[in-house]
C-alpha cells in the first residue's frame, strides 16, 4: 500500500477564512481526486490543505443574468444532476456525467478539475467551447476571465497562490447547438472535440486532450477548414497515441462534429 505524506488540515467556515488561509504551501482542497493522488505520488508536498467543502459560498448553482453560475466546489455529480444544467446546458451535463467514474464524480469538483489543468480534461474542453468564465478571488479582490485564459499549459494555470476559483459562469444561449465527440481507449481520452454553432451563424470547435491545453478554432466559411485545424495543432505524443495517430483521430472527430452539426465545409 502507499500512504499520503503528512499535512495539516485547515477547515475555514467561509470564503473569507478560506482566502486568508491560502498560500504557496496551503493548497485549496475539495474532492482531492487529483490533489491527493499527486501527493501520494510525491509530486506535491503541501504543508496544509485548505478544505473548501464547508465553504457555503462555493457550493451553489444559480442563474444570474442569463448565465448558470456553478460554485467552484460543486461536484461533477451535483452539477450534472442539477435541473438548470440539464435543461439549459445539456452538453455540459452529458460531459460531466462521463467524467472519471461515479466515484470520481461523487467527490470531484469543477473548480478542482479546472485548477489542476490536466491537459486531457473534458471539463475544460466543454467549458471553453461554451464560453464559460471563471472568477478568481483573493483577499485583494476578484477577477473574471474566460476558462481558456485560466489554463496556461499542462498542469499550470494563471491562478495565483492566494487565489481561489470561486465560480464558473456558463452563458445560456438560446438556439445554440453544441456537440461533443471523444475517442478514448485508455483511462483518459486520446482526443476530444467540442463543436458549437451559435445562433448568429458563427461556428467554432475546441480540440482537447492532444496538447498542453484545449485549443479553440473558428471553423467554416469565416474560419478554418478541418484540415488546417488538424495541421496547426500542437500535439503531444503519449501512451494514448503517437502524434500522427492523434492527428488522424482529430480529423476523424472534426468530421463527425461537422456532420452532426449539419455543416458543410
Amino acid at each position: 500500500m502507499s500512504v499520503l505524506p503528512p499535512f495539516e488540515l485547515v477547515r475555514p467556515p467561509d470564503l473569507g477564512g478560506a482566502l486568508e488561509a491560502l498560500s504557496a504551501d496551503h493548497l485549496p482542497y475539495a474532492g482531492g481526486t487529483e490533489l491527493l493522488l499527486a501527493m501520494r505520488q510525491g509530486l506535491l508536498r503541501p504543508a496544509a490543505l485548505v478544505d473548501l467543502k464547508g465553504v457555503r459560498e462555493l457550493s451553489g448553482i444559480s442563474v444570474i443574468d442569463g448565465s448558470i453560475v456553478i460554485g467552484g466546489a460543486v461536484t461533477h455529480r451535483t452539477a450534472s444532476h442539477a435541473g438548470e444544467v440539464r435543461a439549459s446546458l445539456p452538453a455540459l451535463a452529458e460531459v460531466l456525467q462521463r467524467v472519471g467514474s461515479p466515484r470520481v464524480r461523487s467527490v470531484g469538483t469543477l473548480g478542482g478539475n479546472l485548477c489542476f489543468a490536466e491537459p486531457k480534461s473534458d471539463v475544460a474542453t466543454i467549458l471553453i467551447a461554451l464560453g464559460a468564465e471563471v472568477e478568481l478571488a483573493s483577499t485583494d479582490g476578484a477577477r473574471v476571465m474566460p476558462v481558456a485564459d485560466l489554463l496556461a499549459g499542462p498542469y499550470t494555470t494563471v491562478r495565483e497562490e492566494n487565489e481561489l476559483l470561486t465560480s464558473i459562469s456558463v452563458p445560456v444561449v438560446d438556439d445554440r447547438k453544441v456537440v461533443y465527440e471523444k475517442f478514448q481507449t485508455m483511462e483518459r481520452p486520446t482526443v476530444a472535440v467540442a463543436g458549437v454553432a451559435e445562433p448568429d451563424g458563427s461556428r467554432r470547435v475546441v480540440v482537447g486532450a492532444v496538447g498542453g491545453r484545449p485549443e479553440t478554432f473558428a471553423i467554416g466559411p469565416d474560419g478554418h477548414d478541418p484540415e488546417e485545424i488538424e495541421e496547426s495543432l500542437e500535439i503531444f505524443p503519449d501512451l494514448t497515441g503517437t502524434e500522427s495517430y492523434k492527428r488522424h483521430i482529430v480529423s476523424l472527430l472534426l468530421a463527425r462534429v461537422v456532420r452532426r452539426l449539419g455543416w458543410t465545409t
Binding site: M1, L4, E187
Partner: protein, 159 residues
Amino acid sequence: MTDVTLTTQINGRPQTATIAPRLSLAEFLRDGLGLTGTKLSCEMQVCGACTVLVDGLPVSSCNYLAADVDGREVLTIEGLATGPELHPIQKAFIDKFAMQCGYCTPGFVMMTKALLDEVADPSTDEIADHFEANICRCTGYQPIVAAVREAASLIREDR
C-alpha cells in the same frame, strides 16, 4: 501534524475518533475499525475495490480522507446486510457466481447498491457506464452483469 477529531456513523453506528489528517478512509476503516471487507488495490481511485458509500454516494476510500466523513454516514460491505439475512445484491452475486477470488467483490457489491438506489431497472448500457472503471480480473464480468440484473429484479420484487 495536528490530529483532527471526527464524528461519524459507520454502518449505522456512531463513531468518534481522533486521527491524523493524512489517514485515508480505507486505512481508518481497515486498520482503525477492523472493517477489512473494504479492499485496497490500485490506490488510484480507478479500480473500485475500495468503494464505500458516503451519504449514499460511492467513493473510492483509498483516495478519500477519513477526516472528510466527519458529520457524514458511511456504509461499508459489512453494513449492507442488516441481520443474518443477506441483502438481495449479495444473494444475486452468490447465485450468479459473480466472484472468483473475491477481492474486488465488496467494491462491485457496493457499486451495485449505489446504482440500484438510483435506477431500479438499469439497462445494459447503464450498467456498463456505471461499472466503467471497476476492475475484476477473474470473471470476465458477464456473471457480474447477470448478478446486477438479478439483484435489481429481487429488489423490485421485494417492494
